[in-house]
Structure formats: structure tokens, C-alpha cells
Subunit: 313 residues, 2 copies
């Protein structure tokens, strides 16, 4: 298939759906958009690579969806509002014309569904694994973004949903916590937030390091997913280990005042379909550089980054 | 090397250099920037893949530079002003720690040099070839962008610089025509513009199709580079063939009124270092859907897209 044909295919998908802020869309050298005055532009980029982030043979629909969802999870982690996406795809040898089209369609549809329409991209074929890089733009008001670096001693540490075992399927099908993040930031003063991609232990330590504080996670309060329980039977590791270290949960991990946290833990937060998403208080922020995992009996061991490391070979 | 170490390395490069419009830079889930009110945001993404866009064994410095320059060439093609870049790198097996650092440093330095500071990114290692995807953001005033779709019958077709044979080295070392594009758009009313990445023939046909016009290129007026002449000795093809079809010239191809074009052809346009960059009038825009290559004796043959096709296998 010619590159032009594929670009034309994607363009046809978008025909008649141009958002009012989009002045130039797919098919030119770049997309041109109008951003509301006074808003900040939030930008993040993320890749999924065959055999690293998805298995060879994974349906193109799931690959495209994951690539978009993973990137938009970073927009959610800033409590920003999705604006648009661009995607660069390097198709591997295993992708025939039909698979190329299916992947592009999935990118387009996932981006539209998640309120970040695809406005441009680049397609090429290469000798290696299929690689999809999505860059997302979002907007936020001046008070709107929540970074990793604002956690304060005394803060409660909270997480949405349940953790661990995402490799059983959720890592491909999850929905980024975009409305949840906006609702949380709208209801409370969030001090710091991150999405759990590398794993709870690693991502909690990211917040600790960026905020120059320590974190104490209470093992008994960490919400363990059913997937982690099932997976533990195969691995022989405790379900808690999977909740701490598996990663790719794409849940929100955030720090805020204790009273706000208690209120959220009682009420939960509304999800994309209006469903109630649980919020768990799993620990607290402490002064100093040391971070711990605390057992039910109050004993503590140092919290270590057990999650995914992308450059470890 | 740990992912964190590499991110920290890049962050150190940027320390103390935060542009005033950058509110959150490298190290969080996303970068946050302020864009001037009333300006359009221009966004484009582009990948370079080992064994496709650069040979295995190419110095990481050249790979990083090409990835940034190629993407910014698309910002130039819109006559937009570079704002910032983000990069996603999938390091292949051949990249050791030192090569990873060198590539990241090259991305950082090329982006800074080209006035589009690197504000975020993603690093991973994979089983395949090294792939670098750069997304660039630019800004433009409401009247500022130049698309591919505004060419009108009667327009002159112009090109900067000289074409062909970029594979001999220029495809790695070129400087995107950013100041030239801004100067051209400031001096004249440009009707359509594209950067020559796929090849003059293919990219001229892109303008023709998007503008719903035909183009006539005059063979004798196409500026052929010395590289094309040297390369033709090895390939046995005429230098003109290389100028028409090699691609990766990253020169600007644009359409505008004849009087403006003549003035530009006389004066040239100022380059990044104040040097004079030549502008050649190479043809004209005609009504209808047919495009031609015209020989010196006035005979015409259909212009065919002979350039690079990224999805042809």
C-alpha cells in the first residue's frame, strides 16, 4: 500500500468531523489549532513497541487503542483536559495492508472516543517490530495542572481502582482516568499526582523524589485486583507483590490533605460512564528522604522500586 | 542504565536553561507551556528508523540531529515559528549506555540550536532497530501558516537551494529552512508550501493534489546539486533524475505570484547565518488535474511521483 493511500484512508475517517478549533488537520505538513487564550498547553509523548509493550500477534485494534490510552493517561496525571493527538507509526514486517489500516483506524477511534482527536501523524515501514508513538496535547487553566512535585509531609496518599496483574489483559483495554482526574482536581486541592505505569512502588518513589519527601505505604490498605490474585497462583508471588510492582495499571496515585482524602475514600469519584470508581487511602507522606512499606503489625521495610525499568537489559 | 538515570542526564543538560514560557519541563508526566494569546499552535510528528532513515552504525549525534531537524522542517514548511519539541526513543540492541546518552544529548542540543527546546520525552529499549520520534510544536499568527492547498493557476513554483544526492551526507546534516521560511512569508504572499522530503516530483504532486491544480516543472530550471552530479556517475542515472526523485533535500518548495517569485529569484533569501540562499523559479501552476515535466525544447511528459514511498515493501 502506498503511504498516500493510508493517509487518505485516515483522512476519510476524519471527514466531516473537524473540531471547531482545528484549522488545518490531517494531510498537510503539520496540524494547526487554536488554543483558548490564557490556557496552558500540556504535551506528552509515549511509545508502544511490539514485544515490549504488546506481544507480537496482538490485534491491531488493541495496539492502537493502548498507544492512545497510555499517552492520554499522562494528560490525566496532570489533571489536564485532552485536546488532540498526533501519531507516528513504524509498521513492522508482520503488518500487511489490512493490519496497517486496522491499526490506524484504532488510533483514530480511540483518540476520538477519549476526546483527543487525531490531527496528524507519520507512517513508515521498517525492518523491526511495530512501534507506535503518540503525542498528546492537552489544556489546563493556570491553576489546573498537578505535578509530581507538590507532595507535603502529612499528606494522605491515595489511589484509584485496584492494582496488579494488568498483564492478564487490562494493560491493553484500560481506560485512562481522564474524567476522574478532572473531577478529583475540581473537588479537592491535589498536591501531587502521577499515573501508575511503572508500578505503584516505583511511581510512589517518583513522587517522593520529585517532592523531596518520603512516602509510607501501608500494605494492608493497598487495593489488590482480582487479576493480581489469579496471577499470584501462577507466579507463586503474593498478590500484594503484583499490586506493588506489576505496573501498567494506569490508575491515579495522588497526594492531598487528610480530610479531603477521607471524603474521597467514602464517596469515590465518578468514572467515564458515571460509575463509581473507588479511592483508597494507602499511606502518608513523611518528611525526609526515606520511604517505607509498612506491614499490618506496624513493622517497616524500605520501599524499593520494583516496577518496570525500560532501559534495563 | 536505568531509565531514571538517562532522564536525569537529559534534565541536567537542561538545568538552568528553562525558557520563560515553560512552566513544567522534563521529569513530570507531561510538559506544561504558555503559548502567546491569539497564536495558533502548529504540531507535527516524524520518526527516523534505523536501516530506513539512517544506516546502522551512524553516529548517535547524527541520528539525534536528523530526527529533530526533519521534524522542524515540517514546522518551517508551514512558515511557523518553532516553540518546543518532545522525543520518544526506542533504543535498539546496538545502543549501549554511552550511545544512549550521546543520542539524547544530540536531541537536546539540536533542539536548542534550532530554537525548539526539548521539554519532554519517553525512553525505552526494544528488540528492534533504534527508532526516534520527534514531535514539534510551533506557533503562528492567524495569517501566518502556509498550507499545501493554496496554489493557484498562474503561480510561479519556486524552490530554495539545490536538489538531489542528499544520501551522500546532506540527509543527516541539513539545517531546516526555518528562518528562510519565515523570511519568505514575511516578504511575500506565499500561496502554498511544502518541504521536500519525499522528492521534488512527489512533493510537487502533493501540492497539486491538495490545491486541486496541475504543476508544470521545467527540467532546465531545476537546480541540481553537486551531490546529484557525483551520484549520477555511480548510478548511471542523469543528475536531474536524482534532483527530481531522491528526496530528503528538506528544501522549501512554494507557490506564489510571478512578480514576487522574480524578485526572490534575484535576491535570494537570508539563511540562518545570514548567508544568501538561492531561490529558483522551476515551473508554474496550471488549471486542471494534469502535471508535467517540460523539457528544454518545450516537449512535455507526465510528471510522476518518483520519490520515496514509505510503505512500499
Amino acid at each position: 500500500m502506498a503511504e498516500r493511500e493510508l493517509v487518505e484512508y485516515i483522512r476519510q475517517l476524519a471527514a466531516g468531523e473537524r473540531p471547531p478549533w482545528l484549522e488545518v488537520g490531517i494531510g498537510d505538513d503539520a496540524a494547526v489549532l487554536r488554543v483558548p487564550d490564557d490556557s496552558r498547553v500540556v504535551v506528552t509523548t509515549d511509545s508502544v513497541i511490539e514485544s515490549v509493550h504488546f506481544k507480537a500477534g496482538t490485534e491491531p485494534e488493541l495496539v492502537g487503542r493502548k498507544a492512545v490510552a497510555r499517552c492520554l493517561s499522562d494528560i490525566a496525571a496532570m489533571a489536564a483536559r485532552p485536546l488532540c493527538t498526533v501519531a507516528a507509526v513504524g509498521f513492522g514486517r508482520s503488518y500487511d495492508d489490512d493490519a496497517c489500516r486496522r491499526l490506524c483506524k484504532a488510533l483514530y477511534e480511540a483518540a476520538r472516543e477519549l476526546s483527543a482527536p487525531l490531527v496528524g501523524g507519520d507512517v513508515a515501514s521498517g525492518p523491526g517490530p511495530t512501534t507506535v508513538t503518540v503525542t498528546a496535547l492537552g489544556t489546563a487553566g493556570s491553576a489546573g495542572v498537578v505535578t509530581r512535585s507538590g507532595a507535603r509531609p502529612g499528606d494522605a496518599i491515595c489511589v484509584t481502582g485496584r492494582l496488579g496483574g494488568s498483564i492478564r489483559g487490562r494493560h491493553l483495554t484500560f481506560r485512562p482516568r481522564i474524567p476522574e482526574a478532572l473531577a478529583l482536581a475540581g473537588r479537592c486541592r491535589l498536591h501531587a499526582m502521577i499515573d501508575i505505569s511503572d508500578g505503584l512502588s516505583t511511581d510512589a518513589l517518583h513522587i517522593a523524589e520529585e517532592s523531596a519527601v518520603g512516602v509510607v505505604l501501608r500494605a494492608a490498605d493497598i487495593p489488590v485486583s482480582d487479576d493480581a490474585v489469579v496471577l499470584s497462583r501462577a507466579t507463586g508471588r503474593p498478590p500484594l507483590w503484583h499490586a506493588l510492582n506489576d505496573g501498567e495499571d494506569y490508575e491515579l496515585l495522588f497526594c492531598l490533605g487528610v480530610a479531603d482524602a477521607r471524603e474521597l475514600a467514602r464517596s469515590g469519584v465518578a468514572g467515564a460512564a458515571g460509575e463509581r470508581v473507588g479511592v483508597s487511602i494507602i499511606g502518608e507522606v513523611v518528611a525526609g528522604a526515606a520511604s517505607y512499606l509498612e506491614a499490618a503489625d506496624g513493622s517497616r521495610e524500605p520501599l524499593t522500586a520494583g516496577g518496570w525499568e525500560h532501559l534495563t537489559r
